[in-house]
């Protein structure tokens, strides 16, 4: 009897796994509704990555439409979106602010030197506190913030060309006119 139960274990394990898959299928890992959309962007004031003596504050960008991109040198997916960000920084017409999330200063600086720097500035969120305020699940994430400092859109996971072209660029255009 005991042996029979033992032989059931693989089946039981599989059913638990399958249960998780059923739930997982309904969720798109890239799109999580953010409770922050339509709410003011949490205020932060953090040291600047390129010069830790200086600080970057979220209020610096009031009055313009801007992107806040959460990134880290340890994050593989960030590298996949990085070339697109570098490209967009040249042509997009909006400032991209980096939130360097739970990273080491040297690694982060090296990363930007290596892959190019699309950011007007990167704020160092070494302990991830600001990340918590923004409800960051994992990097990369990108927030689109309007002139009044309200979060309008949140991209979870790497930005791709489609999201940029079909969602972010039209929204930027609209927000700039308002």
């Amino acid at each position: 009897m005991k042996k029979k139960l033992l032989l059931m274990i693989p089946l039981a394990v599989f059913f638990v796994l399958a249960g998780f898959f059923v739930v997982g299928l309904d969720r798109n890992p890239r799109e999580i509704p953010s409770p922050l959309i339509g709410k003011p962007a949490p205020v932060f004031s953090l040291p600047d990555l390129s010069d830790p003596e200086k600080t970057i504050a979220s209020q610096d960008f009031l009055g313009q439409v801007w992107l806040l991109n959460v990134w880290a040198s340890w994050c593989v997916s960030c590298r996949s979106e990085h070339p697109l960000l570098v490209e967009f920084a040249k042509t997009g017409g909006v400032p991209i602010v980096g939130l360097n999330y739970k990273d080491k200063t040297v690694d982060a600086q090296l990363y930007l030197r290596r892959y190019g720097d699309p950011y007007v500035a990167s704020a160092m969120d070494a302990d991830g506190r600001v990340g918590i305020d923004y409800g960051v699940y994992g990097s990369p994430e990108t927030f689109l913030i309007d002139k009044q400092g309200i979060i309008r859109y949140k991209q979870i996971g790497p930005i791709n060309e489609k999201a940029l072209r079909e969602t972010i660029v039209p929204m930027i255009k609209e927000l700039k006119q308002s």
């Binding site: 042996k3 029979k4 032989l7 059931m8 693989p10 089946l11 599989f14 059913f15 796994l17 399958a18 998780f20 898959f21 059923v22 739930v23 997982g24 299928l25 309904d26 969720r27 798109n28 890992p29 890239r30 999580i32 340890w74 994050c75 593989v76 997916s77 590298r79 996949s80 070339p83 570098v86 490209e87 090296l110 030197r113 290596r114 892959y115 190019g116 699940y137 994992g138 979870i156 996971g157 060309e161």
Partner: protein
């Protein structure tokens, strides 16, 4: 017209497979030999139609028939011919068609190379493979038809993902899929054994070569994927613990356990239930890998095609195949029974311990890959698990495994004694210890951390090599004659094990050397500047435009030299593909036995000197990582062509139900 022929061929294949998956199975249980005899013909017929369909798809890509949606999405008039052909398995639809096509190929191979098997067994094996094919073919036809048309016909296709326009990507998916799908043979043998209640050493002997061959394909597939990531992604790494990579590593780990467990079942008649479970798990993980990549459950850097609707179909399919076979296992495995006894200190125990370690390693990879999904499903938030987790749990599991790998090759079956083991292994142990302690200092390392890393890595590699040699000399004692005779009189299966294990050692040397001695520099270079790394000097000579068929490229020229002597020129490129507007980095690599010199272009820097940000690496022994994988594959092939599989073939023809001499001995024991 051609695409319709392809579609029609798929439907005909489906009908034949439906017959293959039902009548022979019923025939085998009721003893109707005419129904059982159908299995071979239907398998060969289905393969013909699957090959025809696949040919039609390749043809549509070659002639760039943009009225086919799949072609319009993945090809382009400017795409070179070779990539048009490989694009037919670059898309989601195409890759599933290749899956089914290969399943047909393996079934067809089983139908041809199974003359010596009892009719009942062939009917069951092919029947199970037929059922699996039906599921996948339905998935293809219902959710991802590769021959769907579009109207109006676009004038130009969207082009293949630039990441896939690479020689490595031509071969990587077919090899990987041959491995994944090949495990279906082991799976079908296991299910057939459960259904028929016949599971003995002869059964293991039949399924072993098939399993080993599938494992070889999977090894090569993973190797090419890793190599591709190394030079194409331009980050200089060779393994990223990306979910898609993990999906291929998991069946490999369990498959490795399976080929060793099969060896025990064949030689000693034990581990039967365990072997069957492993065979089911290996194929289940192959299916799971496909599910993870194709369903969009996980995000990954290279999950190219994802769609939740398809995910639901594959999940249902998985539930039927895996759930069904595990349920069958739970109810029928007690009938299979166990035989043979062995002591705690024996080769069986050592192999079993390593089996468990491999399974645990696979479990940790599975957990790390699915952890984000679990947390999300339980509403605990979304996270991603990175390389630090995998390295922290994987390496500690590999250390005892490598130790046992050396031990098990020289331990006696059934019962061994410690003094005897010590006699056999003392030289190996002494040499290993000396190497592990002295080598890091000879190589000029003094910091405790790097001494420990190098000592551990090189120690493990030398342990494998020396214990393998000890195993050889141990066997050589029993062969009379010259040293040459001692070498040639060993069976191929022994050399297979020897070469594969040495491959693991070579692999570990590569990993350790890269980890311990790689050097990299990130610099801004203007034409004429030089940078040195690892004793090599790179001189930047400037950039020029050099356009390819479907991209603009900026090509840099670097002169590589050592001690003032020029070695060669290197030409890294930065490409911009027309259709995707995606910048791609093509690294230039000077590859050698003792290491690679690697240079890739970063971004242009806007100054008047036309500078670029440039990355250069020196990667000592990095090629050994792949050489190790090639040796493992060669080892697998050697073992597969062992003489006894052909000899036993003849012996089995007459009395298929006679257990082999091994298992008779065991049952008496």
């Amino acid at each position: 017209m051609i695409p319709e022929i392809g579609q029609f061929a798929l439907i005909l294949a489906l009908l034949l497979l439906a017959v293959q998956g039902t009548l022979p199975l019923v025939g085998a249980s009721k003893g109707i030999s005419a129904w059982m005899a159908l299995s071979r013909r239907t398998a060969q017929g289905a393969f013909f139609f699957l090959a025809l369909a696949f040919g039609c798809l390749v043809y549509s890509f070659i002639v760039n028939d943009f009225s086919v949606l799949n072609v319009a999405n993945n090809s382009n008039t400017k795409l070179p011919l070779i990539y048009r052909i490989s694009a037919s398995w670059g898309s989601h639809e195409g890759s599933i068609l290749v899956w089914v096509f290969m399943l047909g190929l393996w079934s067809c191979a089983v139908s041809i190379f199974s003359k010596h098997l009892p009719e009942e067994m062939v009917a069951r094996v092919l029947g199970v493979m037929g059922l699996v094919s039906v599921g996948l073919l339905l998935f293809l036809l219902l959710t991802s038809n590769p021959f769907d048309r579009i109207f109006p016909v676009p004038a130009e296709g969207r082009d293949l993902n630039p990441l896939l326009q690479d020689p490595g990507m031509i071969l990587h998916p077919p090899m990987l899929y041959m491995g994944y799908v090949g495990f279906s043979v082991a799976f079908a043998f296991a299910i057939a054994a459960l259904l028929g209640g016949r599971l003995d050493a002869t059964w293991a002997r039949w399924s072993r070569p098939w399993t080993t061959l599938a494992w070889c394909f999977l090894t090569v597939g993973i190797l090419i994927g890793s190599w591709w990531a190394y030079y194409e992604l331009g980050w200089g790494g060779w393994w990223f613990w990306d979910p898609v990579e993990n999906a291929s590593l998991m069946p490999w780990l369990v498959g490795t356990a399976l080929i060793h467990s099969l060896a025990v079942t064949e030689k000693r008649g034990t581990f039967k239930v365990w072997t069957v479970l492993l065979a089911i798990c290996t194929f289940s993980l192959s299916l799971l890998g496909t599910f993870l990549v194709r369903s969009g459950v996980l995000t990954s850097v290279h999950a190219f095609a994802t769609d939740p609707k398809r995910g639901m179909f594959i999940l249902t399919f998985l539930a039927v195949v895996i759930g069904g076979s595990l349920a069958l296992f739970a109810f029928r495995a007690p009938k299979v029974g166990t035989a043979g006894t062995f002591k705690i200190l024996s080769r069986e125990s050592a192999l079993f311990a390593n089996n468990v370690l491999l399974i645990v390693a696979c479990g940790t990879v599975l957990l790390g890959t699915l952890y984000p999904l679990f947390l999300d499903a339980l509403n605990l938030g979304k996270i991603s698990v990175g390389p630090p987790y995998f390295e922290a749990v994987f390496v500690p599991l590999m250390v005892p495994m490598i130790f046992l790998m050396g031990v098990s090759a020289v331990t006696r079956w059934k019962e061994a004694t410690l003094p005897d083991l010590w006699t056999r292994l003392r030289w190996a142990a002494v040499v290993t210890l000396i190497v592990a302690i002295v080598l890091p200092f000879i190589l000029g390392r003094t910091s405790p951390k790097s001494v420990a890393l190098l000592g551990l890595g090189f120690g493990m590699a030398f342990w494998i090599i020396t214990s393998a040699l000890a195993g050889f000399f141990d066997r050589a004692k029993y062969v009379e004659g010259s040293f040459g005779a001692k070498l040639t009189r060993q069976p191929r299966s022994f050399w297979g094990m020897f070469v594969a294990h040495i491959g693991v050692a070579v692999f570990i040397i590569g990993v350790t050397a890269v980890k311990g001695f790689e050097a990299e520099r990130d610099v801004r270079m203007a034409p004429g500047d030089t940078v040195s790394v690892g004793g090599y000097t790179f001189r930047f000579e400037g950039t020029a435009n050099r356009d390819g068929p479907n991209y603009h490229a900026t090509r840099g020229t670097f002169e590589l030299s050592k001690d003032g002597k020029t070695i060669r020129k290197l030409y890294p490129e930065k490409r911009m593909y027309f259709a995707h507007g995606m910048p791609m980095t093509e690294a230039a690599i000077d590859s050698g036995v003792f290491g690679d010199r690697y240079v890739s272009l970063g971004e242009p820097i806007n100054d008047d000197k036309q500078s670029w940000s440039v990355r250069v690496y020196h990667k000592p022994f990095v090629t050994w990582i792949w050489a190790g994988c090639i040796l493992m594959t060669l080892g697998g092939l050697l073992a597969m062509f062992d003489r006894r599989y052909r000899v036993s073939t003849r012996r089995d023809t007459g009395k298929p139900s006679l257990p082999s001499s091994d298992s008779v001995k065991l049952e008496n024991a």
